[in-house]
Each structure stands twice: as C-alpha cells, then as structure tokens.
Symmetry: C2
Subunit: 371 residues, 2 copies
C-alpha cells in the first residue's frame, strides 16, 4: 500500500482493516460465508430469517424465533402517504425509517429490541408505499406470518403460498449480512458518533441505493426476458459474449469460487414444487452460461453471483423489479443493526485522515492583506 507522510494511503480503503467483527466471515477465496460461524447453506436449509436475525443480533442460536411485520405509526404512514407516487421505493423506505426514529426517541446504545422493531417495521413501510403508489390502501400486518411472508401479504393482501414464502425467506437469509460492505460500514460510522439506530439504518439504506452497491438485480430479469427460452439461451449468450458484453448475474468482486449464497438459493429453488417456470428457466440458463464461460473464458473464474438467483426468486414470488433493491434492504436490516450493536459495544469514533491537494494559503481576491 502506498504511504504519504508515513500514513497508509488508500482511497476506497481497500486493504485497510477498519475494525473487527464477530458477525460474519466473508471468505471469497474459498466461497464461504459464515454467520457467527454457521455456513450460509446450512442456515438456508435448516432455519428461518427470524432465527438468523436473532443469531446475528445476539450471537446465540435460537431453537425457535418469531418475527412478524410491525404496524406503522401515524407519523410513518402520513409521511409515506405524502410522497409522490413516482418516488423511488428506496427513498420511501429511508424516509419511513427516519420518521420512525423521530417518533421512537431511541436510547443509546442500540439494543436487540430496537433492532427487532426497525427490522419488523421496514417491510410494512415498503409494502404500504408500494400499495399507496398504485392507489391502494395499506394492509395491516398479520401477526401469525413471519417477516418475508408478512411482507408479501401486506403487498398483495393475500396470504402467500408456502413455496413463495419459503423462497423469499431463504432470500432474506442470504441477504441478511455480508461483512463491511459500504452500507454496513455507513451504519457503523454513524453509530460510532453515538448516534441512534434509526440514523444508522437510514444512512445504510441511502448507501445501498447506489447502483455500485445495491446492484441491479432487475437487469438479470430483463436479460432473462430477452433470452426468452432455454432453447435460445446458448445462441443469445454466445452473441453477447462475442460483442464483449457482460452477462448480468455472473462474476463477483470478492468471491473467486461459486458464490455460496447463489448455491443456497439454487438449492431452495430446485427443491421447490410449484415454483414458477421462470425459475426453472433460470436454472437451465445458468448451466449453459457456466459451460460457455469455461469454453470461451478458460483463464478467468466467472461464477454465478447472488444477484442471479436473487432476481430469480424475487421475480418468482411476483415482486415488481423496481422493488428488488428495497427488498434487498429489508433483508439486510438484520445485519446492519447487528453491526450497530457490535460497533456500540466497543466504540471508537470512525474518522479517517485525508490528503489535502488543494490550493496553498492565499488572500481573498480584492481584499487587502491582513495587517
């Protein structure tokens, strides 16, 4: 790493260890993702998002857990009603969390109860906005449904089928946490000033909104629509690769091996009776894509990333593509809030140095120099 005046210099902070965490291990080299030591594929096979969230918050594995969506306060609902229909769902979610924090007057330090509250509120808020912008009234939470199923219920007004609820819960599990990404780091910087949990989560939502972080899973959907069918897939992808285009849903900055989140979601999708034909096409297209990469790019490791199956699941359960990034944000609430608590527990203000490259000291134009 280069140094300036004896200080490590790293715009982007790549390669700088900005702290310690016990929450997750992202092991890109070996394609491993552990939450509190437990492999992601095991968690998807054997647990629910409610259990995973408790695990992330407390560090303890709960043999059972229940996390329904929460009702919206008047302040949150009024703020959502006032937004234009064309508002970005991420902006609506950020505003809802901010209004919630303004009403909740959160104490320091952040607690698991606060984390539960905001994680349970967010799906209700997003679902309410999604209905309001269509001219529909919000649907109250069903306290018997778990978070992912409850979100679908509040979106549609209908209790989701078992397969959709299970698929979205699995998606929520793989999206719950991923180390020091930009949004989680944002939440920790905000918490490091001893600010409250709502400020941290609102900041994190804002960071996840950026396409360099939140990604573009809806582009995977567009791509699969363009491909149209399994029979056309090989020709379409060969042409795209020949034109030097990037196939959406493949390749990852960190994972050099197969993205374990994609593997876990594929397993859920394959094991599921009654899932959309659309998802079957996604599985078949993936096999063809990986074969083509091996043939055409033998010197590079290009594997399926989580966005590919995220798109497949979110489309499969019937979400409109413009809700994909905000639904990702719902899932990530568990991880963000776990990081806020971890940061608060061993706190140190996060404040890097900066290299000044601007003009040297100079007098104001037209002003006589000071005496």
């Amino acid at each position: 790493m280069p140094a300036v005046d004896g200080r490590p210099y790293s715009p982007g902070l790549e390669g700088v260890l900005a702290g310690e965490t016990s929450i997750a291990l992202v092991d890109g080299q070996n394609g491993r993702l552990l939450y509190r030591g437990y492999p992601i594929v095991e968690l998807v096979r054997n647990s629910t998002y409610a259990q995973v969230a408790e695990l992330l918050w407390t560090g303890e594995w709960p043999s059972e857990a229940h996390l329904p969506t929460a009702p919206l306060s008047g302040a949150v609902l009024t703020a959502l009603r006032a937004l234009p229909n064309e508002s970005s769902p991420m902006d609506a979610l950020r505003t809802a969390v901010s209004a919630w924090g303004a009403s909740a007057r959160l104490s320091w330090p952040p607690t698991p109860d606060q984390a539960r509250d905001v994680t349970a509120l967010a799906p209700s808020a997003l679902a309410a906005f999604a209905r309001l912008r269509q001219g529909l009234e919000p649907v109250d939470p069903d306290p018997d449904l778990e978070l992912a199923a409850g979100f679908l219920y509040q979106l549609t007004g209908e209790t989701p089928d078992e397969a959709s609820a299970r698929a979205l819960d699995a998606y929520f599990i793989v999206g719950a946490e991923h180390g020091f990404n930009a949004s989680t780091f944002t939440a920790r910087v905000i918490t490091s000033t001893r600010s409250d949990l709502a400020s941290a989560v609102a900041g994190a939502i804002g960071a996840l909104k950026g396409p360099l972080h939140g990604g573009a899973p809806s582009e995977v959907v567009s791509q699969l629509h363009e491909i149209g069918s399994v029979e056309h897939a090989e020709r379409w992808m060969r042409d795209a690769i020949a034109r030097g285009e990037r196939l959406m849903g493949f390749g990852h900055r960190v994972y050099r091996a197969y993205d374990p989140r994609a593997a876990a979601l594929r397993e859920v999708a394959e094991g599921m009776a009654g899932m959309a034909d659309w998802l079957k096409m996604a599985v078949a297209v993936e096999d063809i894509a990986l074969r083509l990469f091996e043939e055409l790019k033998p010197d590079r490791v290009i594997k399926t990333n989580v966005e590919y199956y995220a798109a497949a699941v979110l489309q499969g359960v019937g979400l409109p593509p413009d809700l994909f990034p905000s639904t990702f944000a719902l899932a990530r609430h568990a991880g963000w809030t776990a990081h806020c608590m971890e940061q608060a527990g061993a706190n140190r203000l996060i404040r890097p140095d900066v290299r000044y490259v601007g003009p040297p000291e100079r007098p104001l134009p037209g002003v006589a120099a000071a005496v």
Copy 2:
C-alpha cells in the same frame, strides 16, 4: 500503525488517508483552517455564507452571491407535521431531507444546483418543525433575506436585527466545512456507491446527531448560566478544575493552537454593537479561563474551541439550546454537499476490509453434519 496479515489495522481509521480533497485544509498544529486556500478568519471578515457556499461547491470565489431559504414542498411539510412534538430536531431535519430527496428524484452525479436546493431547504424545514412543535404555523421564506437571516425570520416570524443576522452568518461560515469528520465521511461513503445527494446528506445528519461528533454546545450555555457573572467566574472555574472537571468549550482533538474558528467568531462578537450582554460575559470568561489554564495546567495546551463561541452566538441570537446541533447541521450542508460532488468527480467505492474475530466454522446445533 499495526498490521494484520500485511494489511494496516486501524479501528477508527485514525492515521489512514482515505482519499484526497481540495476543499479544506485543517491544520491543527498551526491553528489554520483554509477553505479552498482562503483562511477562515479572512472569510468571516470579508464574505457571506452564500459566497462561502459557492466557493466550496465550485472552487471559484464569487464576488457576490445570494442564497435565500427555499419553500417546502407538500411532502416535506406533511412529514414534519406528522412528527411528534417531542421528536429530536435532528431527526426532524433528517426526515425532511429524506422526504425532499424522495420528491426531487435527483440525478447522478450531484450538482451545485442540487447542493443549493438542499442547503436552502434545510433551514426552512428546521424552522417549520421548531414552530410546529410549539403549535405555531410555519412561516414562508423571505426571498430577500440570506440563509442565516432567513432561518431566524422563519423561526420567529420577525426580520432579525443586523447584528444577529451578521453573527449567525459568521457562525454558518465557520461551521460550513471541516475536512473528513465523521459526518462528511459518511456523506462520501454513501456517494461512493453512486447514491444521490439526499441520501448522503440524510446520512450525514444522522452521523452529526451523535454527541461524539456534533458535540454539546448547549453544555457551554449551561456552564455560563452556572457561572452567572464575570465576578464569580474565576472562583467557579478554579473549583471546577480542582475537582478534575472539564470546562466545556475548551480543548480540541485536532487544534493544538487556538481554534481559528473560535478566533473568527470572537472577533465578530467583539466588533458588534448591540449584541447581548451574555456575549460580553462569554468573552470575559474566556480570558479568565485561558489565564487559569496557563497557571494550573502549564504543561498542556488547552485553548478555546469553536463550541465555546458557537454557543455564545447561538444563544446570543436567541436560539433555544436544543436547536444548537441541528443549526450546526444547517451550516455544514455546504461542506457536505461539496464533498459529495468531489467524491462523485473521482469516484471509487469506499469499502474497507475487516478483521474477523468470531467463531470458526461450526455446524448448526441439532442438525446432522452435511454429507
């Protein structure tokens, strides 16, 4: 700096250069603060906040500039009306900026026009909330007033006197920018994902809310109230120092010499006919405090910091102490938004590494090991 696996390890990122900036130089060793090369004391003497904001945004010194407060959209005003009266003013401001962003649908990259819009909106939003919580109706902006004067007008419904307008404008200038502090860094991390300006500013407000960053200028006011008069000041402070207590408004993490922002504000206060007696007392008490530090702590450099005169000015212009942190946030909008533009102009996703110290890979309790 310690290293782990060959990577620099710095929780808090102290001593790590996280990027480059041309906006401000914070030179604590020599007590210098430059905006685009111009010393803060020169700017306070010879310019207005409107000019300083343009300078920060564009890098060019404008011979004149006009920045009135902006009217609130329906979405912002409705969101503010829905908040409980007991909400923190920082939470209200954060929610207003978030609702504004949801309505404005901001394009990438952030622009000076966007920066002007949010900087002009924020004082109107804070003033509206401050009135609503007292059961008063918001006051529309007066387009002839500059930002600081316009804020006071929208708070009180009365055009402020010249001295108050000038003092608060000076406060806005010294608060406009201060390098890579935690809130500015938050804004840059959020911008680095290619997220929008409102997301970045909402996150920055959340970070500034924390007492480790936004500080506690209202405690300076309480302290001066306890001291009561210049005659009692020496005895009171000697006793406090003897008890090992910290005097509020003195000492700074960065500035080893006199904080140039405090010097600039003191100069404004001293030159001002018609300022509150209260401010005169602050000047006299400061002199006594500095003499006592030299006598009682000769081996340490303890100088007046910006909070001391910030409190004096904010109290002097009649702001209630619970609006001090959010008024600081209004001033810092110029700096935050300048940093968003600078970050966007040479962007690189900000994403540090983290040291994993959690449990090693382990099977889920009660689940048979995977085959």
